[in-house]
Symmetry: C2
DNA sequence: GCGCGTTACTAACGCGTGTTAGTTACAGAT
DNA sequence: ATCTGTAACTAACACGCGTTAGTAACGCGC
């Protein structure tokens, strides 16, 4: 048994043509004349031999790896509770699959960013990159722009030329907090979803501040806490708020995941949601419809974000300048019960 | 500006040696004598030129892609609510990073398995594979064994030679359900986490049946429902149970994610947990500590599963036959409040 | 002076593909 | 009879690296 790899050479011999012809046929190279009979012979031979071109050789010769990289800028343990990530993965793979691209995923720790994803690029391991969790203090990012590498941010860096897909975090949070204010709350706490070096975290915090300001409510920095991606941090920061002497009747939390940590902390204190403390989150993860009480939150269109970013990246890879390389998708305030706005609605369900 | 890629040739010229020497030095090839001065000159040149070897060329020449594939056998939309996945990703990337491997992720739909991950392998796109969600009816799997491709299952196919890392789903569920029985329950429903073509789903169902049998409780098939990975299916199946005329005082659910859908359904019916219906889940996702009530569940050591599978795969890739290629990790019944076993404990917290 | 082993390298091949520059055969025009 | 053009291919190079087989220089024993 020879057991050697089946190469395009084998296909060529079986079809009685040259290797060049095999390549031309299988890649459907435009502008090349191949007689229908030859074309068929090649295709048949390839199928019968179950020929699959070797990825590395293709990549080397064609200078395209057919892989796009999804880079998560986060501490590894923060991945574990990232409900957003799975939705992104889903949308991303679904979108790139038809074009035959593969997805490589890597986690980059904020501490040492430079060594990491730039190497992926220099090694030509990936053709393009989708970057989740961009930070203000990421200096490797600017290198990306310099070398004009196809990249799309999930999120954004203000005043930069990066292609990105994002939501208007400021406006979305503004709306959410304004909703609390309309319900009569004025002592509204805030827990960010992450350190504010992450652009999304800062933007959401800014939206919170804007809403207060626009409604004539003084900012009380005692009401602000900083989360760190995972549910534990939501739990801890909420306890920290409750243990301090500040009064509050509502809290906005920068992500649903953290919100559930906060909900647990509130309950442990014997307080009721929304009667004692109204809660509003951000993301609308799938669970939030089913939580008790169902969580009022801002719907972040995760699947759409993933799909749009993959589409834009595809265009960049094709060399087209996309018509819109900076996309803001719509969010939507999903009012459920945790904010106290629809108590009657809730009664009916319980009946 | 020449702007050509920096190759090992450039490094060689700068260091005044041959390309071979560069390769020998940078790869630290054992058993080759290179003088310390030369070694240093090469390393310096590489660093100064910021040389990064091209992945495709390395892969082609060395016949190793330095990529491992994580294949998820699931319908795409079921990824969105998979809390288990993020924990796996975390442990996997953490484990393979030190060896310089990358992780490629792909979703394979149960309907067309054959075309998909076998191609990844034939294209030599990946050196090894970690397969999550193996199914009894996956015929592509046996092809893997035939060609002796380095593979590790997350989960297992009974009576096969596959390397795998798993937990004893049957025993774990047996313990969990026995716990309910010890608490006095005899009408215990069951919702599987997935269709029973998935091995884990069938094993968990079997554990449930065993526990009933060992405790002299007759099996009532009216009490069994089949979930499908996502939270919605838990919600639907629980409603289905509650809408039927069967009586029950407890329910075991094959995954925490589904359990929260069930919890919502139970609440919508105006029933209390655990007083009216005790609930036990499976997985111990991070949220389960924080839910209301905190969920009694079986802790599945997700991080350890990921790490061990990555380790075994590394050994397979190195050509070593691992001492133990079939690993069963310990689970642990985590008794919280949703099963009604620790109500006093809960009171204290609420005080 | 020669054989031999060791040290420290290098020339050259091969990995499997994409692609450019040709080549051959043949029909039609001059 | 020669030139031109086109259809249908193919020979040969390039991609950037790992690796095998080989070589030159040198010391050492005799």
């Amino acid at each position: 048994m020879t057991n050697h790899r089946i190469t395009s050479q084998d296909v060529a011999e079986k079809a009685g043509v040259s290797r060049t012809t095999v390549s031309l046929v299988l890649n459907n190279v435009p502008g090349v004349k191949i007689s229908p009979q030859t074309r068929r012979r090649v295709l048949d031979a390839a199928r019968e031999l179950n020929y699959v071109p070797e990825a590395a050789a293709q990549a080397l010769a064609s200078r395209r790896a057919r892989i796009i990289g999804l880079i998560l800028i986060r501490n590894p343990h923060q991945i574990s509770t990232d409900a957003f990530l799975t939705q992104i993965l889903d949308g991303l793979i679904e979108t790139i699959r038809p074009s035959g691209m593969r997805l490589l995923i890597d986690i980059v720790e904020p501490q040492h960013q430079k060594e990491t994803y730039l190497q992926l690029i220099q090694a030509k391991h990936i053709d393009g990159i989708i970057l989740s969790g961009p930070r203000y203090d990421d200096d490797a990012l600017s290198s990306l722009l310099e070398v004009n590498f196809p990249a799309v941010l999930l999120g954004q860096i203000p005043d930069s030329d990066f292609a990105f897909v994002d939501v208007d975090n400021r406006a979305a949070v503004n709306t959410a907090v304004a909703h609390l204010i309309n319900l009569g709350h004025s002592r509204i706490a805030c827990i960010t979803n992450a350190p504010i070096s992450y652009t999304a975290a800062l933007d959401r915090l800014t939206g919170y501040k804007q809403a207060l300001k626009e409604n004539g409510i003084a900012l009380d920095s005692e009401l602000i806490r900083y989360g760190d991606f995972d549910i534990e941090s939501g739990y801890r920061q909420m306890h920290s708020l409750l243990a301090s002497n500040v009064t509050m009747t509502a809290v906005f939390i920068g992500s649903d995941t953290l919100a559930y940590g906060a909900v647990a902390a509130i309950r442990e204190r014997g307080l009721r949601i929304p009667q004692d403390i109204a809660v509003v989150g951000f993301d609308d993860i799938p669970f939030s419809r089913y939580s008790d009480p169902p969580l009022t939150t801002v719907r972040l269109p995760a699947g759409d974000l993933a799909r749009r970013s993959a589409e834009i990246l595809s265009q960049l890879l094709a060399g087209d300048e996309p018509e819109s390389k900076q996309v803001i998708l719509e969010t939507q305030l999903v009012v459920r019960d945790s904010c106290g706005a629809s108590r009657s609605n809730r009664r009916m369900k319980l009946q």
